[in-house]
């Protein structure tokens, strides 16, 4: 009787610890990412291919910036703090990498790149809306588009600092 209650107590203690561990892991600042994003359930291996290969991803990024630069809520941030052509180049690398493509991303980590910009959740969401519009523009199906959303979602916590 005592043993059972002890072991169940120990189990509860362990699961509490595991929960804390998970919570801590979630609150750690992400290191500069070097490969495919971990998501649950996993992002399929053929996601870059489904996006139309490297050229398809590039087309998507072009469309993304087209919609971003038309969005008066956020276009000023992009024109003020970066060279749009360079951002398109770096994003084409980044998007392939997080989807599992064998591409080296040469830019700064998301946390470093956005640290001083004071980006709000609303501004970040505006980019997500542009991302969905871009998928529609290049005829990437919604379900495939969500693989990229899943792959980019964790950057929210690096990019949104306000």
């Amino acid at each position: 009787m005592t043993q059972t209650s002890k072991s169940s107590k120990a189990k509860r203690g362990l699961s509490l610890l595991a929960g804390l561990g998970l919570a801590l892991a979630a609150s750690q600042p992400a290191l500069a990412q070097t490969g495919k994003t971990y998501a649950f359930p996993g992002i399929p291996d053929n996601s870059v291919e489904k996006f139309g290969g490297p050229q398809g991803v590039h087309n998507w990024v072009e469309s993304l910036f087209y919609y971003i630069m038309l969005d008066n809520r956020i276009n000023w941030i992009f024109s003020e703090f970066g060279n749009v052509e360079r951002q398109i180049m770096l994003n084409t690398q980044l998007e392939q990498m997080v989807l599992g493509g064998n591409v080296e991303y040469q830019g700064a980590s998301m946390a470093a790149a956005h640290a001083d910009l004071g980006i709000t959740m609303g501004q970040f969401n505006a980019v997500v809306e542009a991302a969905y519009s871009a998928c529609e523009r290049v005829h990437t199906p919604y379900h495939t588009c969500n693989q990229l959303i899943a792959a980019l979602a964790p950057f929210t916590f690096d990019i949104v600092t306000r």
Partner: protein, 337 residues
């Protein structure tokens, strides 16, 4: 007199909530107002008035406000069942993606068996049962509050931690006489719940699990508790939604119900007919309450713009008090500012 005072309090609270919503939406102070959540991520509104699915509250805060502002909405829900029609309308306000306050007024006109019972009771000279022959109506006020504790249902795709919120409802049913007839213990009570919600983007699916601590019969429309007392218990609810695209979602829901009034007779005046209904023939069957069924629904939600969403559902509510097989059409309209 008391009724009058309660009425004006209710009107005042409803008015205050509407003013708050209007203030939040029309105020020129752009710093407070916010509608920057992504499409449909504020969810729709439940029959209890909280942000969620159709019947189950989610951990999401209703409206399109992010953590930087306030947003709110108005809703109207219509459920058309063989013997009942539920009309509910109300207001929901979300504060900084953290706190949600809601008020909903539910009006449930009954028909069918209730008409039969009402006629029989009138013929037998009964009075004060709350069942009129043709126009028995149940009205309920629902005040809700929800607090998001932790987690991000949308962007936390790299971990399994869901968005978690706790919440509660204060429900006041205004047909006390009918509830006494049905042998419910109380006409006014509170419920508490904890909800965990998460979108799994790789499979375009949202999952919500809710545990609700309650003693409600038919979400409180037929009161709380039964002749054996008013004891709360934990009941489970769940929603699953598949996102067809950024504006459409389809899915289903489940809500566990209790058994406080199962097989209980209706009580006419001081007379409990539980032991006698067998002797009363056909009328007797009409006077015994059926086993309360769990609720299910299959829904289709469409948000043509961020300011408006429509939810169509087939609601399978099973046995409701005296009447079996209550399945029907559910429509909910939600306007957000």
């Amino acid at each position: 007199m008391t009724g009058f005072r309660e009425g004006s309090l209710r009107r005042w609270l409803g008015g205050a909530a509407v003013s708050a919503a209007l203030l939040a939406s029309t105020s020129a102070s752009a710093e407070w107002f916010n509608s920057d959540k992504v499409f449909l991520t504020g969810g729709v509104v439940t029959t209890d008035g909280s942000g969620g699915g159709g019947i189950t509250p989610w951990a999401t805060i209703s409206g399109y406000g992010t953590r930087d502002g306030i947003n709110g909405g108005l809703h109207y829900t219509w459920v058309y069942l063989p013997d009942y029609t539920l009309n509910s309308y109300g207001v929901t306000v979300g504060f900084f993606d953290r706190l949600e306050l809601s008020y909903t007024n539910s009006v449930l006109p009954t028909g069918g068996t209730f008409d039969t019972v009402g006629l029989a009771v009138s013929a037998l000279g009964g009075a004060g049962t709350g069942i009129e022959p043709w126009n028995t109506t149940i009205k309920m006020d629902v005040f809700g509050a929800k607090l998001r504790l932790f987690g991000d249902a949308v962007y936390n795709s790299h971990s399994l931690i869901p968005q978690v919120a706790i919440g509660g409802f204060y429900k006041k049913n205004r047909n006390a006489a009918l509830l006494e007839t049905l042998q419910a213990a109380d006409d006014t009570d509170w419920e508490a719940y904890v909800s965990a919600t998460k979108i799994f983007f790789p499979v375009s699916t949202l999952i919500n699990v809710t545990a609700r601590y309650t003693s409600a019969n038919q979400i409180g429309l037929t009161g709380f508790g039964g002749p054996d007392g008013n004891d709360k218990e934990v009941r489970l609810e769940g929603s699953i939604a598949y996102l067809l695209n950024k504006q459409f979602a389809i899915g289903g829901e489940y809500q566990q119900h209790g058994d406080n009034l199962d097989n209980k007779s209706v009580k006419l005046g001081a007379l409990d007919l539980t032991g006698l209904t067998g002797l009363l023939g056909g009328l007797g069957n009409s006077l015994t309450q059926l086993e309360e069924s769990d609720w299910y629904d299959l829904f289709f939600a469409y948000a043509p713009s961020k300011n408006f969403s429509m939810t169509f559902a087939y609601a399978m509510l099973g046995n409701i008090t005296l009447t079996p097989d209550q399945s029907g059409f559910y429509l909910s309209l939600h306007a957000t500012f």
